[in-house]
């Protein structure tokens, strides 16, 4: 059965870095593009992020995600290029739409930031097992309940989709037409809701019993099956990342 994790199981230097350092990197990478909003600098940050994806052997997995965000990007370019308040210099025209230079420059910056944001998260999510990430956060004091919600959603949603198709089957078996034109499909959707909701509630109740049985609410200190991520350069990397952040802020304020 599928689950919704995007983790790609490969062996690379990036995979070996501990989840928290990667999380800090995501934050830094996004922050930098706002602290120093020049095209050249943002391109440098993006290039570095892409380099990490390449090093993590997961570059091709980020492409479909960027593809999805392309729709957003195109609409930004059109809207900003056309409507940006400082519009003065005409750059080019798309049919009847005049695109202005100022707006285009801003849109380009925004686009670069979005792509960088997507790629930075990609570095974290594509190279980190979700349970490793959540375990590290729980170790740092996050509530195990919140951690459980994150992890279970990844598995339970595909299960709900599978359940929906079972219920559809049961209803088709009793003569309800679900194949055919749009109206038939919409009509067949409504009787689906009752069993889906009730079954989910029922499963949820039984699952919470199962969690109780497995001591989820036990008071004592929990242990972890997997050793907490041991990455010997973790601390140094974190210090470097923080220094970079401070340097960027100083640069921005001073210059």
């Amino acid at each position: 059965m599928k689950n919704m994790t995007l983790y790609v199981d490969k062996d690379s230097f990036i995979h070996n870095i501990d989840p928290l350092t990667k999380l800090l990197f995501v934050f830094l990478s996004i922050a930098l593009t706002y602290i120093l909003p020049t095209h050249l600098f943002v391109i440098c940050v993006l290039a570095f992020t892409l380099l990490l994806l390449l090093a993590g052997k997961v570059f091709k997995y980020i492409l479909p995600v960027i593809g999805v965000s392309l729709l957003l990007i195109i609409s930004i370019i059109i809207v900003q290029g056309f409507f940006h308040p400082d519009r003065a210099t005409l750059l080019f025209e798309i049919g009847p739409l005049p695109i202005y230079k100022e707006g285009f420059a801003f849109a380009l910056l925004l686009t670069l930031r979005i792509i960088n944001m997507v790629c930075a998260f990609g570095v974290l999510i594509l190279t980190t097992k979700p349970d490793d990430l959540v375990e590290s956060l729980i170790n740092k004091g996050m509530s195990p309940k919140i951690g459980y919600v994150f992890l279970s959603v990844l598995q339970i949603i595909p299960q709900m989709i599978a359940m929906t198709s079972k219920i559809t089957d049961a209803q088709r078996a009793r003569g309800m037409e679900t194949e055919g034109n749009l109206l038939t499909r919409i009509k067949s959707f409504i009787p689906l809701l009752g069993p889906v909701v009730l079954n989910s509630l029922n499963d949820t109740r039984e699952r919470s019993i199962a969690l109780e049985i497995r001591g989820f609410n036990a008071k004592g200190t929990k242990t972890f099956l997997n050793e907490s991520f041991h990455f010997k350069y973790g601390l140094i990397l974190k210090i470097i990342l923080i220094i970079t952040l401070i340097a960027a802020i100083v640069w921005r304020v001073v210059l």
Partner: protein, 557 residues
Amino acid sequence: MNSIRVENLTYKYPNTDTFALDGISFTVKKGEFVGIAGMNTAGKTTLCFALSGLVPHFFKGAYGGDVFIGDMDVLTHEISDITAKVGLVFENPFSQMTGAKFTVYDEIAFGLENLGIPRDEMHRRIKESMQFLDIEALGDKNPFSLSGGQMQRVAIASVIAMKPDILILDEPTSQLDPRGSEEVFRVVENLSKEGMTIIMVEQKMEKLAAYSDRILLMHEGKLIDSGPPADIFSRADLLNFGVVPPVYTTVAKALHLKNELTGLYPISLEEMPASGITNGDIRTISESLPLTKTAGPEIKVKDLQFSYNKDTPILRGISVTLSGEPTAIIGQNGAGKTTFVKLLKALLKPSAGELIINGTNTKDTTAAKLAGTIGLIFQNPNDQIFKNNVLDEVMFGPLNVGQTPEVARLNAEKMLERVGLLGKAGENPYDLSLAERKMIAVASILAMDTDIVIFDEPTMGQDARGKAILKDIIHGLHAQGKLVLCILHDMDFVAETFGRTIIISNGQLLFDGPTRIAFSEADILHTARLEQPHITQLARKMGYDGILLKESELIQE
């Protein structure tokens, strides 16, 4: 030292009028294996909840009396304190998976992490319990990718890894194939020998009799009797409580094989004498019942193949013609039985091969259009029920296939009466028990009056009375000239009810023919992880060299 002490336990679920548990008292010694028998409304599951602290801490309601686990009072302790000592495994394997772990190995670790078990000890225990349940090969798999039977074994492994003092199992084997459920019983017996206290609710009385030290007989929330299996199953009034004794006991009663010293009847295969039935005592009843219609419905299957993806074929070329007498489809968990009937119903399209139903190829039609011809009763009634009134629910299918409201209502009421639920026509299906919902699902398909009726594991969770109703329904449908197909794990029900049997294993048809011959094919049964019916094994042991299928075939003087 008592492991469990229950004193005058009384409990009522919120918003109900009747007591689910009514003045129950008993004690259980450490290491004892206690079976709980009773019909579906007896309160067995509620008792399991009360012993694990879920009643009253999780399910609120009116609670009286005392439950002690060791010297711990359940009422004044929190669930987490109780669950450190009591493990519970229940019927539905799917909802026992936590959903937070991505491999079976990690899933088993979940409970141990919560208990704060040191890492080395954790690895040791996980490996041990995986070995116990024979699931070592599944360690790296995602729990949700497993079959129901495999998932149930993971659920049991997860609980026993926590090494509870007391293990409670509420019908843990109802979804397993015969061999799988036998394996679970053996594992549990070993745990009991090592000193773990076992409480098990089960509908398979032969198993309960063979493994339990003591049986608690429950009825309508009350504890009727408690004693060794031989005492309980020798009671003359057992049927009043909806419990049918093991087939060995029934046969022994018929043959007057009472133990002279104790006045009790044998309850297991081992206790039965190795002689006593000769070929002259058996009068085999003809398999094929007379047909009222000559040209009945017919399904032709030609080289049927199916797979969700190319690497893992589910069905590998099945050819068979189905018509005439009721046919049982048997085989191990994950053999492809459910996929097969879904293809018949055009819910799935074949990857290759052809399916011709009464002359129509399923490629040219939809499941909804076939609804008037084939009725399919799903394994899980919850997938099917969506009206908030029983009568509306049963009328939904008939209206869809073009019956007028008057006729649909008449049919619906007739079928509800047949499954014994006419009195509940006005209730909300979700207020009824799972076994009752299953019967509603049956009624809602029967009311459509289709030529072909397919059942997917109808006996799951049904007590003796429910099984008797189902048997009547199947014979009745046949007498009306309808074709009945039925997927089953209950071999005794197959032997009792079906003249023809199909064995499917690993996506292939291993056997097609009379049930009596099916159960004589030892090699095929072994490959498909099946067993002979209990009565067949018994007759063999007592000297009959044929295949005995029904109690009624044994001539009684």
